[in-house]
Every structure is written in C-alpha cells, then in structure tokens.
C-alpha cells in the first residue's frame, strides 16, 4: 500500500480518540481498591519459628534497619543420656520501615526461610517512629504470603 502524506497523523488521532472512549486505567485508591498480585513486594514478613537469630539478615542489611536480640536456651537431648542441646531463642525482631529501602537482601540471605515478601502495603503511620514494627506485626503479614511456586520438572528437593 502506498504511503499517503499525513497517514500517520490521522492514525495518531485515531489512537487518542479510541483511548478517550475506553475506561481509564486509574484506580481511585481509597474509594476502590485493587488487590496487588500475590508475589508483590509490599512488606517483609517474618516466620518466627524458622528464625534462629543468626543475625545474617541484620548484618547484610545496607540500612541497618533490622534489630535482633536473642538468648541461649537449653533443650532436652535428642537421644537418651545425651548432652542437652543449646538453641538460640528469639526475643526481639524489629524492622524499622522508616529506614528500610525494600532491597530484599535480608530475604535473599536468610538461610532458614524465615523472611518473606508479603503483598500487604497498607501500613502507613502518622508518626515516623510508629514504623518500627515488632515480630508479632511481622508475623501477621505472613498470612498474605503465597505458597512457594512448585519446583521445576526434574528438580530434587533437599532433605
């Protein structure tokens, strides 16, 4: 088809006219709410029973926004007559979301799968100090975390 001068101009007018007749993509947030996708990186959630207070996340954090305190506890031995086991118990796990830059390094480095991305995003506060959230709050956000995706075909799960 030969090119007519001004063809592109008319085509452009058509695009804007068609867009005008279609509904806008804007979501009027406080009035209507769009569910974020399951793996959206809204906030970092903590699965407390997996945490060993190993401090890896706190040390890798570029902003130093993770506060961890723990203490040693004795647990009964695995076998009869054995030595009592020593474990780390978690006392405090706080993330200061006023400092956090959502890089996700803590989620990456956690060797025990205790930190997850949660799609929750409505946790703004009036006072900046209220953005320091403790482990109970971080645990509540675990609800929104989706199940991990199934392994690829042929992959073997480590025992």
């Amino acid at each position: 088809m030969p090119k007519i001068p001004g063809q592109g101009l008319v085509k452009g007018l058509g695009v804007t006219f068609k867009t005008m007749l279609q509904p806008a993509v804007t979501v009027q947030y406080p009035k209507e709410r769009e569910e974020p996708v399951g793996r959206a990186r809204g906030v970092i959630a903590l699965k407390e029973e997996n945490c060993t207070a190993c401090m890896l996340c706190a040390r890798e954090c570029p902003d130093w926004c993770i506060y961890i305190e723990g203490h040693k506890e004795k647990r009964p031995p695995r076998r009869e007559g054995g030595k009592p086991r020593t474990v780390n118990a978690l006392d405090r796990f706080d993330i200061d979301y006023a400092l956090c830059m959502y890089c996700g390094i803590c989620v990456e480095v956690c060797p025990f799968d205790a930190l997850f991305w949660s799609p929750e995003f409505e946790y703004s506060e009036v006072r900046i100090a209220d953005l320091l959230h403790d482990k109970d709050k971080l645990g509540e956000w675990m609800e929104g975390v989706p199940e991990p995706q199934p392994l690829e075909a042929g992959a073997v799960k480590k025992k």
Binding site: T16, T19, V25
Partner: protein, 340 residues
C-alpha cells in the same frame, strides 16, 4: 428586533458585563472540559476527581482563587512597568475579539462591516504583549520564547487571513452577521434546506484555518514559544500569580474566540434551520456554543495527539504548505464565484 428598547448606556453596561463574564467562563469551560478532562481520558487517566465533589469541576476555579492570592513577583532586573502591563495587553486583545462575535440576530456587541478583518487585526495585537513580556522579563529564555512567538504568530497570521479570504469572496461580505446570513440563506444545488454551511465549499479553508489558529494559540504541535522542556514556558517564565492567570485566561479565551470565528465562518454560526426571529435570539447562543465546542474539540484533539514541531519545520509548514494551499483555495473560490 428585540421586543423592548434599551437606552445606550443600559445596553453598553449590559454588553460590558456579558463580555467580562463570558471570557473567564469560556476559559474555565474549555480548560476543564478539554485541558483537564479530555486530555486525561485520551491518556487513559481520570483527571481531577475530588475538588467540588463531582468529577473535580471546581479544580480550575480553585486554581484561579489560588493565583489571585499569590504574591505578585517582579524580578529585580525586569523593566517593571512594561513587565506589569504586558499580560494586560495580551488579555485585552482577547477581549477585543469578543466585540464582533455574533451569538444571535441581535446578540452582538457591535456588528462591524469589516468584522472579520477587525477580528484578525486585534487577534494579532497579542504578539506585542508577548514581545513586551519576553523583553521586560530580563531572562534569556523569556526573550527566546517571545521572539519565537513573534516569528510564529506573524508566519501563521498569513494562512489565517488567506483562508478567511475564501469565505469572504463566497459570502460577498466581511461582516460576521452578513456571513452567517449568507450561509443560512444559501442553497446547495437549489436546495435551501440546511442553508449552505461553508464547511462544504471551503473545506480546505477550514482545515487551514484550524491549523493556523492552532499555531496562533501557541498550542502543541506549535508550542515552541512556550516549550516547557526547552524554554521553561518561554515568555511566561517570570510571571506568577494573577499575571500568569491573565496569560492563561487569554490563551483559553482566544481559543474560544477563534473557535467561535471558525464556527461562524464555516459552520453557520448561530443559525440553525427553520428557526427565525426572536426564537433565534434565544437559541442562538446555545447553537453557537455547541458549534464552538465542536471546533474546540478538533483543536484540542490535535493538541493532545501530536508532538511538537521543530522550529524550521514550523516555518516550512506555514510558508511551503499552508500559504500555497490557501492561495490555491482563493483562486478556486474566485474562479467558481465568477463562473456561477
């Protein structure tokens, strides 16, 4: 004729009040309907939704109130008097345009015999205001912008005038009322049902007129004088508060007036088939308003679709395309006028 007589000062007062209130109203209506809402929907947005409760209708009025409250800043190096008066001159050229616009058989401030000639003459007065604003600002961007504006407005004045000449030849009069009557009484091949809107015979002239008035308004794709990415809004850089509001009102007031002229010249103005006498006086403003919105829709549709021209392309478009085409239009109109 009107059923009652008004004394001179009564009618003058009435006309003054109407013109003074129509321009801000026109600026707000065009700004809200097209600049805020239509542009938003063309970009798949919603535009303002909160002010005033219903689809943000109060947004521009609130903006106006904000502008009036602001401090009147004049740069230290600026030429104070010229700087202060420039936006007024731009706005006055818009006010002068409204004098000849007919909204009904008797609804016109002053029906001049040289109506369209007068309208085109006063519309180019704004160039002086723009040049004054740019020069007095003592800012290199303002100066560049105003010189660009001067070059552009002068270049596009020509196709604007030449496009109108075709209509004047066909109607045989320069009075805007006369042109409306010529269209209303006209016939298409002996059928006088809808009159003869000159859009049919002067379609080329209409296209040239709309393109040239787009450039006169310094709207995209012809917005080099105010190119915000290169010139920081050109001659308006140093203006704030109500002086900026004057420029804004003048821009949209002129857009309304040029749309009204285009509607009068090519779409039959206030006339609508089968409506005569006093009823036309009542319906006229609404008919004209609808036609103005139609033309304004075309202008703003192009404004929100096309990217900015380059400066040389702008001049080439005026001198190499629009002016030869409008000369061709005049020749064709003249030959056909003599032949029939």
């Amino acid at each position: 004729m009107l059923a009652f007589e008004l004394s001179f000062w009564q009618s003058t007062l009435l006309k003054t009040v109407v013109v003074l209130s129509v321009i801000p109203a026109a600026a707000v209506i065009l700004g809200y309907v097209f600049l805020l809402k239509m542009m938003a929907h063309m970009q798949s947005r919603l535009g303002p939704m909160e002010p005033g409760g219903f689809h943000g209708w109060f947004q521009l009025i609130g903006d106006g109130i904000k502008f009036i409250q602001k401090e009147d800043i004049i740069p230290a190096e600026a030429d104070r008097r010229v700087f202060a008066i420039a936006p007024v001159i731009v706005l006055v050229s818009t006010f002068l345009l409204y004098i000849v616009l007919p909204a009904g058989p008797d609804l016109v401030v002053q029906d001049l015999d040289v109506g369209i000639f007068y309208a085109l003459a006063v519309s180019s007065l704004s160039v002086i205001g723009v040049l004054m604003a740019g020069w007095a600002s003592a800012n290199k961007y303002s100066l560049l912008g105003s010189l660009r504006a001067a070059g552009q407005l002068i270049a596009y004045e020509l196709p604007l005038v030449l496009a109108v000449v075709g209509v004047v030849i066909q109607a045989g009069t320069m009075s805007l009322q006369g042109i409306v009557h010529a269209q209303a009484d006209g016939e298409i091949f002996g059928v006088g049902l809808i009159g003869n809107p000159y859009l049919l015979t002067q379609a080329l002239g209409f296209v040239i007129f709309v393109a040239a008035s787009q450039a006169e308004l310094t709207q995209t794709p012809f917005d080099m004088p105010v190119a915000e990415s290169e010139l920081v809004a050109g001659y308006m850089t140093e203006y704030s508060g109500f002086r900026f509001l004057f420029f804004f009102m003048a821009e949209f007031g002129t857009a309304f007036a040029l749309s009204a002229i285009a509607a009068t010249l090519y779409l039959g103005g206030w006339s609508v088939p089968f409506v005569e006498g006093n009823l036309a006086n009542v319906l006229g403003p609404f008919v004209l308003g609808a036609k103005i919105m139609l033309v304004a829709f075309l202008i703003f549709w192009m404004r929100f679709t096309f990217p900015r021209f380059r400066e040389d392309q702008l001049q080439a478009f005026a001198w190499k395309i629009l002016i030869p085409l409008s000369l061709l239009n005049i020749v064709a109109t003249g030959v056909l006028k003599v032949a029939f």
